[in-house]
């Protein structure tokens, strides 16, 4: 594999290239790095002029994310961030699971049993994902208000499922399209039922694709802001909304604290996107571009 890759034109560069790339990459990554460093600084260190690169790391900011006193000297109280993190995880995970189940079936259908107007359906599906979220959210907001869905988990989960669905369909279709149908046909000839062909033959071959789609869906949902801003209530608020409110709200210039919230929020994403490197191109273009 590695050899074939090289033959396709990845030419060799030496350590000189590594040096140049390292400087550029670290500079590019610096804003993220600086936030992570700031999260470990005390309040005074975070506001030091000139900025401090060497300091005694502390985890007080991370504790303050979850428990802190709003008035100096008073007892520390729960800030609710534990709940917001739970909400983010719960809402993203459940909506991704549902979207992936429905989306994989649909992708298999679109890939193996094309309908009349298959491309039109796929176009409409992609369009719903490309639309400015603000366009969709106005009627949804009114609709949810009528149906009593806004503020609860059900509404946000429904919307996030729909938000992940076009992505799941296009991604999974791109993976199914890459498989040759021969193995499935062989199974059919051997007398497998269609259900069995799907679950025992087609699905195991796209396991990596399923994992990649799931993780991408998780990241997309985890990061989503506008829908959550308008449709979550106090108890179902997700981290991005809570974070945005914290920026404009009570913590003022406690940058260390804000950096700690961001660090907790970002590090999982950074870690999993590292694992996704080979599927990144497909993921960020919603499966429209494979290579």
């Amino acid at each position: 594999m590695a050899k074939g890759y090289r033959a396709r034109g990845v030419r060799q560069g030496g350590w000189g290239r590594t040096g140049l790339a390292a400087v550029v990459s670290v500079a590019y990554f610096f804003p993220v790095l600086w936030i992570i460093l700031t999260a470990f600084k005390t309040h005074n260190d975070a506001l030091a002029t000139p900025p401090k690169f060497l300091f005694h790391p502390t985890i007080e900011n991370f504790i303050a994310v979850f428990r802190r006193s709003y008035i100096k000297g008073f007892e520390a109280v729960d800030t609710g961030f534990a709940l917001f993190f739970f909400n983010s995880i719960f809402v993203s995970a459940s909506s991704v699971v549902i979207a992936l189940a429905i989306g994989t079936l649909a992708a298999y259908g679109f890939s193996r049993f094309p309908l009349r107007g298959n491309d039109t359906y796929l176009f409409i599906i992609l369009t719903t994902r490309m639309l400015p979220p603000i366009v969709v959210i106005i009627p949804i907001f009114l609709m949810f208000r009528v149906a009593g869905l806004s503020g609860g988990y059900a509404g946000v989960m429904l919307l996030y499922t729909a938000f992940n669905l076009p992505f799941a369909i296009w991604m999974m279709k791109s993976f199914f399209d890459e498989l040759s149908g021969d193995v499935e046909d062989a199974a059919r000839v051997d007398g497998s039922s269609e259900t069995r062909v799907f679950s025992r033959v087609a699905l195991p071959q796209v396991r990596a694709g399923l994992a990649a789609t799931a993780v991408f869906g998780l990241i997309l949902t985890w990061n989503e802001f506008l829908f959550a801003l308008l449709l979550t209530g106090v108890g179902t608020r997700t981290v991005p909304v809570a974070m945005a409110q914290t920026i404009g709200g009570d913590i003022g210039v406690r940058w260390g604290l804000l950096a700690a919230i961001e660090t907790l929020f970002l590090v999982p994403v950074i870690v999993v996107s590292f694992l996704l490197q080979h599927q990144l191109l497909r993921g960020v273009t919603f499966g429209t571009i494979k290579r």
Partner: protein
């Protein structure tokens, strides 16, 4: 790939002879029931109950259609749940808002919508504010996408060759685009902060005065563009890189034998391989940049004044702060039209590219 499956000899289980026979497979009857229930409930019952009753009727139609098609129509059955969900959460609301765009309606008042014809569209098209916001958006799109294309391209050239540590360093550069807009907004707010922000501190070394980036329209715009371009240049890089590594090595070897100049080698060998990907990156980023909302909302909230208020932010304000709901849906429809055209164009080029390959 597209051959029809070996159909199992399923005999349709005694389908109803007439449309009124109540059976689980009789979707025609369900459709009639729904057609009666929907308007009747909308007219007589309170909005809440009508909504749930309509939903139940729609479910009945769906269930009967599934029972009817079971075992016979595999393709439609597989995609039906997905299409139904998308219809419920995207197309139906969109149709609703299309309807609303013809009404005078404010969502924060009790008054019922009043039919207004094309009045909302007239207001929107005649409004100098809308044109101003569209101009701001166009400026942002051109500048941010332009920057992304250039920076992304240069980054791709840097990572074109294989070198020790490439995988890790590549990942460092690719990280920003996986992050949340909210986090990016918060970062850059911190860096642009006048007293303690890194930017202000860096400038102060030279001028001796704190530097408030976001206080003039031009600089606030620059602040937004830097944040957005930082986030999305890796996207362009990723696409260009995939084009660069697909160039067969023997072409470069042949060029070396011919002693072709770097410039000539680029235009005759490299560029044809990345042309289509550059176009796709351009289109994709244009669509996304056109929708720009989160970064602006979090970084400048459209300020100073309204100088950085893009069309996305304006629609948000129109709908959820001024509550001019009818007008906002009309404007939203105009945006929708633009995005649909761009998406169509994008898919056209995606297809053309896969046909070439």
């Amino acid at each position: 790939m597209t051959q029809t499956p070996v159909t199992t000899a399923t005999v349709a289980a005694a389908r109803p002879a007439t449309w009124w026979t109540p059976r689980w497979s009789n979707w025609r009857l369900a459709l009639v029931v729904a057609a009666v229930v929907l308007p009747a409930s909308a007219l007589t019952l309170p909005v809440n109950a009508a909504f749930w009753l309509s939903l139940a009727a729609a479910t009945l139609v769906a269930v009967t259609a599934v029972v009817d098609a079971w075992g016979r129509r595999r393709g439609p059955l597989l995609v039906a749940p997905a299409l139904a969900l998308l219809f419920l959460t995207n197309l139906f609301p969109l149709m609703w808002s299309l309807g609303l765009s013809f009404f005078r309606y404010r969502a924060n008042r009790g008054a019922a919508p009043v039919f207004a014809g094309f009045a909302n569209y007239q207001t929107v098209f005649a409004s100098p504010i809308v044109w101003d916001r569209l101009q701001t958006t166009a400026l942002v799109v051109i500048l941010t996408v332009g920057t992304q294309m250039i920076v992304g391209f240069l980054l791709a050239l840097l990572f074109e060759k294989e070198f020790p540590g490439r995988r890790v360093l590549l990942m460092l550069v690719l990280t920003p685009m996986m992050l949340s807009y909210v986090a990016i907004g918060a970062f850059f707010r911190y860096y642009y902060e006048p007293t303690f922000g890194l930017l202000s501190q860096a400038v102060r070394v030279f001028t001796g005065r704190p530097f408030i980036l976001l206080d003039t329209p031009a600089r606030a715009l620059a602040g937004i563009i830097v944040a957005d371009a930082w986030m999305w240049s890796p996207f362009v890089m990723l696409l260009v890189l995939s084009g660069l590594v697909s160039v067969p090595a023997y072409l470069y070897e042949a060029a070396e034998v011919d002693r072709a100049s770097w410039w000539r080698r680029f235009w005759t060998i490299t560029f044809p391989y990345i042309r289509s990907l550059l176009l796709l990156a351009l289109l994709f980023r244009t669509i996304e940049a056109f929708k720009i909302f989160d970064v602006v909302f979090l970084l400048t909230e459209g300020g100073p004044g309204t100088s950085t208020e893009t069309i996305g932010v304006y629609v948000y304000r129109l709908a959820f702060q001024y509550f001019r709901t009818g007008e906002s849906t009309a404007l939203a429809y105009i945006l929708l039209f633009i995005v649909v055209v761009l998406t169509n164009l994008y898919l056209y080029f995606v297809k053309q590219r896969s046909a070439e390959a």
